[in-house]
Point group: C2
Chain length 604, copies 2
Amino acid sequence: MKDLTPTVTTGPLPASRRVWHAGTRHPDIRVPMREIDLHPTAGEPPVTVYDSSGPYTDPDAQIAIDRGLPRLREDWIAARGDTETYHGRHVQAADNGFAEGARLTPEFPVRNAPRRATQGRAVTQMAYARAGIVTPEMEFVAIRENLGRKAQAEAHAQTLPRDGEGFGAEIPDFVTPEFVRDEIAKGRAIIPANINHPEAEPMAIGRNFLVKINANIGNSAVTSSMAEEVEKMVWATRWGADTVMDLSTGRNIHNIRDWILRNSPVPIGTVPLYQALEKVGGVAEDLSWEVFRDTLIEQAEQGVDYFTIHAGVRLHMIPMTVNRVTGIVSRGGSIMAKWCLHHHRESFLYEHFDEICEIARAYDVSFSLGDGLRPGSIADANDEAQFAELETLGELTQIAWARDCQVMIEGPGHVPMHKIKANMDKQLQVCGEAPFYTLGPLTTDIAPGYDHITSGIGAAMIGWFGTAMLCYVTPKEHLGLPDRDDVKVGVITYKIAAHAADLAKGHPAAQIRDDALSRARFEFRWEDQFNLSLDPETARSMHDETLPKEAHKVAHFCSMCGPKFCSMRISHDIRAEAQKDGMARMAEKFREGGDLYIPLEDKA
Amino acid sequence: MKDLTPTVTTGPLPASRRVWHAGTRHPDIRVPMREIDLHPTAGEPPVTVYDSSGPYTDPDAQIAIDRGLPRLREDWIAARGDTETYHGRHVQAADNGFAEGARLTPEFPVRNAPRRATQGRAVTQMAYARAGIVTPEMEFVAIRENLGRKAQAEAHAQTLPRDGEGFGAEIPDFVTPEFVRDEIAKGRAIIPANINHPEAEPMAIGRNFLVKINANIGNSAVTSSMAEEVEKMVWATRWGADTVMDLSTGRNIHNIRDWILRNSPVPIGTVPLYQALEKVGGVAEDLSWEVFRDTLIEQAEQGVDYFTIHAGVRLHMIPMTVNRVTGIVSRGGSIMAKWCLHHHRESFLYEHFDEICEIARAYDVSFSLGDGLRPGSIADANDEAQFAELETLGELTQIAWARDCQVMIEGPGHVPMHKIKANMDKQLQVCGEAPFYTLGPLTTDIAPGYDHITSGIGAAMIGWFGTAMLCYVTPKEHLGLPDRDDVKVGVITYKIAAHAADLAKGHPAAQIRDDALSRARFEFRWEDQFNLSLDPETARSMHDETLPKEAHKVAHFCSMCGPKFCSMRISHDIRAEAQKDGMARMAEKFREGGDLYIPLEDKA
């Protein structure tokens, strides 16, 4: 029974404290951030960074995986008075792939009655936003995105540098709750927040917010267990995953998902089709609307925050994929294509999309409209099938929006650099500025084992162009299931891509951490360099491989150049000499064209 | 004495053979390439890839590190009749930092008399190109860049797909020796090929050729040895480094460099200033033109193929760096800045640049004009100091070209994505299209330990925009000296960036390997996927972690999705079904708007 209470990674990151900022409109909300303390010699305030890790990094939090996280949104949801609790659907043996006895993952020990909208109401953040209501979730997001920089800027009378190329993004200096409401109302951002997942800390996905990243986890028919998956979720959020998709297949899908949801501080996404396929024994043709609908309700009651729905795969598009080098590479896409072809009709996802919206609005499940026909190779990028589906996703977006459902759009995949921007441009054009959520894209196919890098390049670029969330790719992509180390490398790589995108878009706060780290580097504050980095453990251990002694943590050089060749040490000498000489005056003189500046032509 | 004959990594990569293509104009030249054999079920010819690894991957080659590689260019050079052998400079104790006894790295056992131009002649590839001479080096490069695709294209009557955005690059369908000559004559490409390094296989660096990568090695005052450095050179070229820079500091610089040069199949670059500084005891102010000149001759006689010369750091620019967040981060740049400031005059590099050119043209040492004032942080990117120096590098380029010297220009460094293209545009504009050679650039500073990735993003982009060679960054950047594993990760990451750039530029042959690997993936030829990848060992071992059995190498699924969820397997079913149904006819019907295609608006 050791699986019942798996252990997960807890404790703060080095020199870091979890801090909270209270709301103004909603004084009871407490928005978490991470403050990284710097060495006293820096004379600088702590650096505040976005924190997706939940209570696990709070040393004062009582973590008990078999009880789950505190249900922080429960009162907010109840207070709206538009939902009811009800008995909910009975768990069936098929939900767990008929696993029995020792092979059955135990149920999560606590059961909360599910909640749903009353009288066909829409209880989505979009519905509230359109009604002019600023929800606690919206204020939470506004505070979270600002990272306390308004107070800091006012205290120091700083003007925020605005530098960058946003390609039409409209990122404000400071995010207000009203701005969040407006973006949600327009469909340009979503807050994935199922009313049955009150444990999650609200976050926004949209082009005018910080670029987010998703990490995929999930057991498969071949390997892994519940305990591993819960730890992978905690581990992924520790390093910065903003949402987690549970892509489990095989047995025990229902019960594993419950453990994940009850312990997840971030929104959880799924592809309900995977579980539906398991329920019909893996035979795509045997899928039906009834099985799928039942699965949606099962997962909505559990609290899944967003569903990938491959409703854009239409019958007439399938022939467009036949001459591709790699056919259909989306699992959901291929399953639906097979179903369509077998039954020779449009998919039940497409035909019943209205009813899918009815379910989604009753629980506030956001849509991630799946790109079932995304390219699976450089050769297939930006082809007819891909763009035909994208246009259909645009039509479906309008249908969902008409029902107040929150929508984001999935994108590729495998795209060479010169074809990336066309993806973003077309998505903005045909999907009404609904947030784009891309997988990479990989910019070449020749490096299996390094596809976090081939795709990190594409992810940074498409994030710059406007993609709101980047789905990570781990080194194991195309080769095997990622383990814990792979998850971390994938997350860090995508944090790099997202942050590089924020910098290039001109996000007003993006450069604060870069500059703090650069100053630490220039001033030989090694500990600060480690602590400010995305992965302090790796930075420190790499440094210590060649200069392990504690004394070297204050050394004014490193093993790369050694003391004599240290450019930064020499730069300090130059500054000192410059001050002695009155460098400022000297600079003036040179700019005026003093004697010492002899143009090369004259000299030659 | 075990250091005398260090062992290096030898043997072919999996399923790979080293093959040779003969010249036409010069029938004695043998241009190496690597052919990767595919599984017989593929029904495809071997895939030919560029091979920088030298004889080390040839099982028939006799490798003896203490004898060095065959001197393949010796006869070509002698046949030109414009050089003479001479006794050369005596090795001095200072050349090896006064290392003695057991601390002295042994001299390389074979001494060849150095060669230099007679009567002030220029013996550079540029001089020959301008004289209308197609050298064996030029034909070698032309054959090498084509990778046998002309013969293949003719055999299969294929038209080459030309897709991409080259931003003004003029990449031909097939590279001819005349094209190479023309590019060299214009200064748009270089062939770094010191007449005293006849062991190296000629290669070209230029915007209209394949994007190249450089790997840095070198011992430091703190760590490493000759045996390690020779192995790092062999190891780096095994994975794809096109040139190697020996950035050694500390003792034994001269002797270690000799071992590296005599065994290197790729051009070797250095920063002569480093050795000059060692000769004056590490005191920048004590550097002089005499010491530097002596070092240039020492290294030119040994066979160094390109020199980084920081002649662009001028006195009036130094004040521009004083308010930077990270000052001057180039080692050479900071040393020269300190010298200039101390002596209050222009540097001896700038003042004696003419004489430096005289030395370079006598041995055909190419210049890599160093960016001593490159930014060391996101905050300092594209600033006044950086661009002022770049303009001076443009002036120096003209001086070098006037003396028939080959030139490339070094570039940054640390640059956020939205400021990368401006670097390329300005370099093209002010440096007359001399090849650009950039370090990264890093697109964010918050990820020490992952700077191969932060910089791989920038490298891919600037490669796309037109950079001819990308200097790798390893995971240890900013933290310590790279070991063997770091070198490999750095090289593979930069091969990815260079190849992604070739694809996006629309290089006519770039996609061949991607497509072959994609087909292998779609057809479940696992062995071919591994063998076609940049790092077959890693791809295979990652696959085997979850599905180790030999039987799984032919499995029509992998551990990521398992058999039921394998989109590729399902895609094959779809193809089979499509053939049964006459998919082509079906496609026609759908495109005409058959019954099954009901637009969403009508349905709703």
